[in-house]
């Protein structure tokens, strides 16, 4: 079986907007969602920079039983999924009749783990944790909670692949539908944003310390970048077989046409050029597209010196002949980690739908590698039909998705 796989809904809850409309405006305006968080400095962080989004008010939307099961990242995922399902015109009655699955990217629930253990250390009694803690602390928390809330009956497991989690979740969803195993799958990525969750990452000196200029700190591909800025939220896309979407008269936003993946086979955190190149080439081959068919690349580029250079070299090696537009939306959002692979599909879909390419803000001076790319410095109003999105993670995991306007 070789089903065509389309995207019929999307939803977003991020530091540049809590819904699709807000995010569209921020992307168009090149607005940053980065702040200085004094609590991080007091706690012992090297860098107090972070993306920031308020937690949603869920009272009135969900009952107590559902609410006490949700850690922060699952609250974001709930909001993004609620918007995506509405966007896809998929209601509870439809879900009750069909087998809808869920693959969600997530790779931590640190705050829930830390706070529950702090309480036990203080009270010396696990029974005082109550019933919610266990469901908040597990890595699969987003999946178990959304599958329960939305009463899903299809495939249901979490994809943990560091900063490529969200992208691989969509890649897996695409394959499950393409091969006929499922008709509809909710895919996405979630990322907690609290100050407890990023200590060990900060320990690697991976974060920008441009703390006097928070909104200029995330500067992918710029010569003067000094590290990434952690961020979070959640993004959801509804993947569906074309047949299913047509049968129910669903809005079709785009088609997923290619998924590439690879592992670097080397160092746990140092990037390579070869690993991403193989992921890019595999995605192109899967999509049956030529290099020149790709009009826009939403880069993984996180604003780290080594990572951006390696990706720039990989993109140039594969796409040097056609030199498509490139931007990293992380310049505005910071690095949304486990969520990023899914949110960057949503950001790119928003751009494709509205006929513009969002700027790689803070790109003031190229280095020798980024100078070879066609990086979009300011908002470009332009229709495009095919984009590619990269996501890479610790352990050398790489993921590439190619999405095409549905015609």
């Amino acid at each position: 079986m070789n089903n065509r796989v389309v995207i019929t809904g999307m939803g977003i809850y991020s530091c540049i907007g809590k819904n699709l409309d807000e995010v569209r405006d921020s992307l168009f305006q090149g607005k940053s969602g980065i702040i200085f968080d004094p609590q991080r400095k007091d706690y012992g962080y090297r860098s107090a920079l972070t993306g920031f989004v308020e937690r949603p008010e869920l009272k009135g939307l969900l009952d107590r039983r559902a609410r006490i099961m949700l850690p922060e990242e699952a609250e974001y995922a709930y909001m993004a999924t609620l918007e995506a399902l509405a966007n896809a015109k998929m209601d509870a009655a439809y879900i009750a009749r069909r087998e809808v699955g869920i693959f969600y990217g997530n790779d931590s629930s640190a705050k829930a783990v830390i706070e529950s253990n702090d309480l036990v250390r203080e009270k010396k009694d696990t029974t005082l944790l109550g019933s919610g803690a266990v469901f908040q602390t597990m890595n699969s928390t987003v999946n178990m909670n959304l599958a329960t809330i939305f009463r899903l009956r299809g495939v249901n497991f979490t994809v943990s692949a560091a900063c490529a989690s969200g992208s691989h979740s969509i890649g897996l969803g695409y394959h499950f539908i393409k091969t006929g195993l499922q008709d509809t799958i909710i895919c996405g990525g979630a990322q907690e944003i609290n100050f407890l969750s990023m200590t060990s990452f900060d320990a690697l000196s991976a974060f920008s310390i441009r703390m006097d200029e928070p909104q200029k700190a995330s500067r992918p591909f710029d010569r003067d970048r000094d590290g990434l800025v952690p961020s979070g939220g959640a993004a959801t896309v509804i993947l569906e077989s074309l047949d299913s979407a047509l049968k129910r008269g669903a809005p079709i936003l785009a088609e997923v046409v290619g998924y590439g993946f690879s592992s670097n086979g080397g160092h746990i955190s140092n990037p390579t050029v070869d690993g991403p190149v193989r992921s890019l080439e595999r995605a192109l081959q899967d999509a049956g597209l030529q290099v020149s068919d790709i009009e826009y690349i939403n880069a993984h580029a996180t604003s780290t010196p080594a990572g951006d250079s390696s990706e720039a070299r990989a993109i140039h090696q594969v796409f040097g002949s056609s030199n498509p537009y490139v931007s990293s939306t992380k310049s505005m959002t910071g690095h949304e980690c486990w969520m990023a692979g899914a949110s960057e599909i949503v950001y790119s879909l928003v751009m494709m739908k509205n006929g513009f390419i969002a700027p790689n803000i803070n790109f003031e001076n190229p280095d020798e590698d980024s100078a070879k790319l066609n990086i979009v410095k300011s908002t470009l109003q332009r229709d495009f039909n095919v984009f590619l999105s990269n996501s890479f993670g610790f352990g050398g995991t790489n993921s590439t998705l190619i999405v095409k306007k549905y015609v």
Partner: protein, 85 residues
């Protein structure tokens, strides 16, 4: 603490923290069938009893308790026993 105060406190946390509809809380109301508490809610009752009345119980202590009145009697007896000590 007077018995009425204890009952009011129990009603208050059932309404505020467990979102039980106040009109459903009657002496004979069954905790599971009428008030809608499930097995996980019993785990949370341990936590609210500790924070409201400062004594610890085990979830299995509730195994013979079915109605709201039985639950109140259980808490009242525990609070009184504690005050006697």
């Amino acid at each position: 603490m007077k018995n009425e105060e204890i009952i009011e406190k129990i009603k208050a946390f059932l309404v505020d923290e467990f979102e039980v509809e106040p009109e459903k809380i009657t002496p004979d109301a069954n905790l599971k069938d009428s008030l809608g508490l499930d097995s996980l809610d019993y785990i949370d009752l341990v936590v609210v009893i500790e924070s409201n009345f400062a004594f610890k119980v085990k979830p299995e202590d509730f195994s013979d308790i079915n109605s709201f009145k039985e639950f109140c009697d259980y808490v009242i007896q525990k609070v009184n026993a504690k005050e006697l000590v």
